[in-house]
Symmetry: C2
Subunit: 413 residues, 2 copies
């Protein structure tokens, strides 16, 4: 397999990498545990001070990583003192060895940082089915390190086939009090609704209870991390965590996510979720185009989601967009194969503002040259109006290119 340029930065990456602000109440340490052949940081440890809370969303995979079984238990306490993330090994299909690895790693962190084992969370991403490199990780953790001043260090250390680090910091407010949000994420294969080898970590210093965190993560995950798809594959290790350090005490506690003081904070937190999820698609393996699929006027939310996901995961649609080919027949195919009842005679399909099919027929008035010019851009909207009800669905995906094959035919080897 051609290995050339596999690490070339995605053409859809942001122009520059911004500073990521540390969040008061958390210290970040990054390490090189030598989990890759080349020298790079592959281990991040976030150490929380004081009483800090966490909410987490997992993959639905029935063969999930041992780390998620661990987190499920830890999550019952709702408190967090550490999050450790390693790339290079997924700790999945590693049996008893993998479970023991977690215990040993957790014990090491607990003793190094003088914290409770039960408040430590783990996320692992990388190859499935290889024994977890416990000794390497423990050896790394025993190094003396200073905390990072720029959290982009963590965004880099959690990368696997990602071509650039993904993160965002926003200074926002709750009521009239200033608070901060910083988030990082990684992709980039096995990305599908209900998440993928997709990790997202979002931190705030705002004083927020576990139940508020839970409500916020449940509110913002469906339209962000659960509305993206790279290849229709879903990982054993997906996880999104939202934490509050409570370093910034509020004048009055928040008891409901409908509290009007949360208005700006919620808008900004939503931005963070959407941004981190979109970056994962922008760094989709081999992606050359970002595709946004919008379904309108479906008979049910279920139907709208099923149709948007079918289009987003169709290899034929994604290769057509890669080739700049206005082959909307493949979109018809992708709608049809959901078996959802649709009214053919009322169906509209557009690429951006270019209506290609109207009431179940090719639009003869289409300006092919303008359409082709639009399809040569690196952001394509596919808009479907089913005229069949009132429900909607939006999903982000990317095209399917030669580089996807390059990357995935030689990932492990």
């Amino acid at each position: 397999m051609a290995k050339k340029n596999l690490n070339k930065i995605s053409p859809l990456a942001p122009k520059s990498t911004k500073m990521l602000n540390p969040i008061d109440g958390v210290k970040l340490y990054t390490y090189c545990a030598n989990l890759y052949n080349k020298k790079r940081n592959d281990l991040s440890v976030f150490i929380f001070e004081g009483k800090c809370f966490i909410a987490e969303v997992f993959t639905n995979s029935s063969l999930r990583s041992a780390t998620l079984d661990w987190n499920s238990k830890a999550l019952k306490g709702k408190e967090v003192q550490a999050i450790i993330v390693n790339s290079g090994n997924a700790n999945t299909f590693t049996g008893k060895q993998g479970e023991r690895a977690i215990e040993q790693v957790v014990k090491t962190i607990a003793s190094q940082f003088k914290i409770s084992e039960k408040k430590i969370f783990i996320a692992s991403t990388g190859v499935i089915g290889e024994p977890f490199p416990t000794h390497k990780v423990i050896k790394a953790l025993k190094q003396k390190k200073s905390p990072s001043k720029n959290w982009i260090d963590a965004a880099r250390a959690i990368m696997t086939t990602d071509t650039y680090p993904k993160g965002i910091s926003i200074n926002t407010s709750i009521g009239n009090q200033k608070v901060k949000i910083t988030g990082i994420s990684k992709g980039s294969g096995m990305i599908e609704p209900n998440m993928a080898t997709m990790l997202g970590f979002i931190f705030t210093d705002a004083e927020l209870s576990p139940s508020i965190l839970r409500s916020l993560i449940n509110k913002f995950t469906p339209d962000s991390f659960n509305s993206i798809s790279v290849d229709g594959d879903e990982s054993t290790n997906d996880t999104v965590m939202l934490t509050s350090t409570n370093a910034k005490k509020l004048n009055n506690k928040i008891h409901s996510i409908n509290d009007t003081r949360l208005k700006k904070f919620k808008l900004d937190l939503k931005k963070v979720f959407l941004y981190l999820a979109e970056q994962i698609v922008r760094d989709g393996e081999g992606a050359t185009k970002l595709i946004e699929i919008n379904i309108k006027n479906a008979k049910s939310k279920f139907s709208a989601d099923k149709i948007s996901r079918s289009i987003a995961n169709s290899a034929l649609v994604k290769t057509a967009i890669y080739g700049g080919d206005p082959n909307w027949g493949r979109i018809v195919m992708a709608i049809g194969k959901t078996y959802e009842k649709v009214n053919k005679g009322k169906l509209h399909i557009s690429f951006g503002k270019y209506l290609v099919a109207k009431n179940g027929l090719a639009n003869p008035k289409i300006d092919e040259s303008k359409l082709r010019k639009y399809l040569s851009k690196d952001r394509i909207n596919i808009n479907i109006d089913l005229n069949n009800g009132r429900e909607e669905s939006r999903i982000l995906t990317c095209d399917f290119s030669h580089r996807y094959i390059d990357i995935n035919a030689s990932y492990k080897t």
Copy 2:
């Protein structure tokens, strides 16, 4: 897009193209209706003599071709006097124009061959959403033609992105009477369980009633045409037809498919179904390897099928096989993302005879060099033992290569 070599014959094609025997009671005429830019036959008409019967299986797509609506109606009579098949245009998303096209084409055939419009069946395959080229087709049909002596002519005329014609003839028997079977098929994108732009036509001269044909097609389609996948996409036009010309009268009629006289015939008919379906995968767009996935000991047939299809349709599994990469972690991922409950600790995964994961753990005894040699072959078996019940599933698919992208990023243009 690179257009080079898009028509290169699949490396998985049979070494030679065999003669396909005409079936007594059917005449085949092939035409060039100029539905392609280059000169080639693109229209086949089978004309049946006497009282002939038909059974048909359709796509489940909710946006199926107008041709299938027509056939559904015609099928109520159970008799067939003609089958017309065109490549180059799918007659899907063509609205009233498409429906009128069918009426006009049917009328032309009826008058040319002096047969009943109601006993004419149509299959169309090609680009979706372009007006049906009625005049070209009618003009072609009015040419004077002699019947084909080798039905490979039809196998060629129904090709779209297929790289070779697919067909098989078997001389078999019912009781002690000799009868014949000939079948043809075409692929090769949008192939998924429950069929795809996949057409199959199977003919016999044996005297068989419509209800026997219906039972036979229902018996053999699930494990053949409905157990193949190229890209997880399913077409609007899929169809398989099984016809009997009744030219070979049986000494005693067959009233049940359990009649012992049908034993050899059923074995051979099954061979024909399996062969034609396998050829579609062998000619999968860009295929370099045929992959057979076998699920054993699943808790239910539903679960076994869901898991085999998830593996067959995983872009990550298919690119790994393309690269000869023993990355069985992706198989674990594909099983997990079905959300089917499986017992991780009892799961075995093998490539051919090479057991790579045993009881939920990597097999440390694996001979990596032998395994890699096996994975460099052009036929790969993936065997999953769930140790979870007694049900099985088998599905054929192919790998995902650079050529798939080449072909599909430039199909229409």
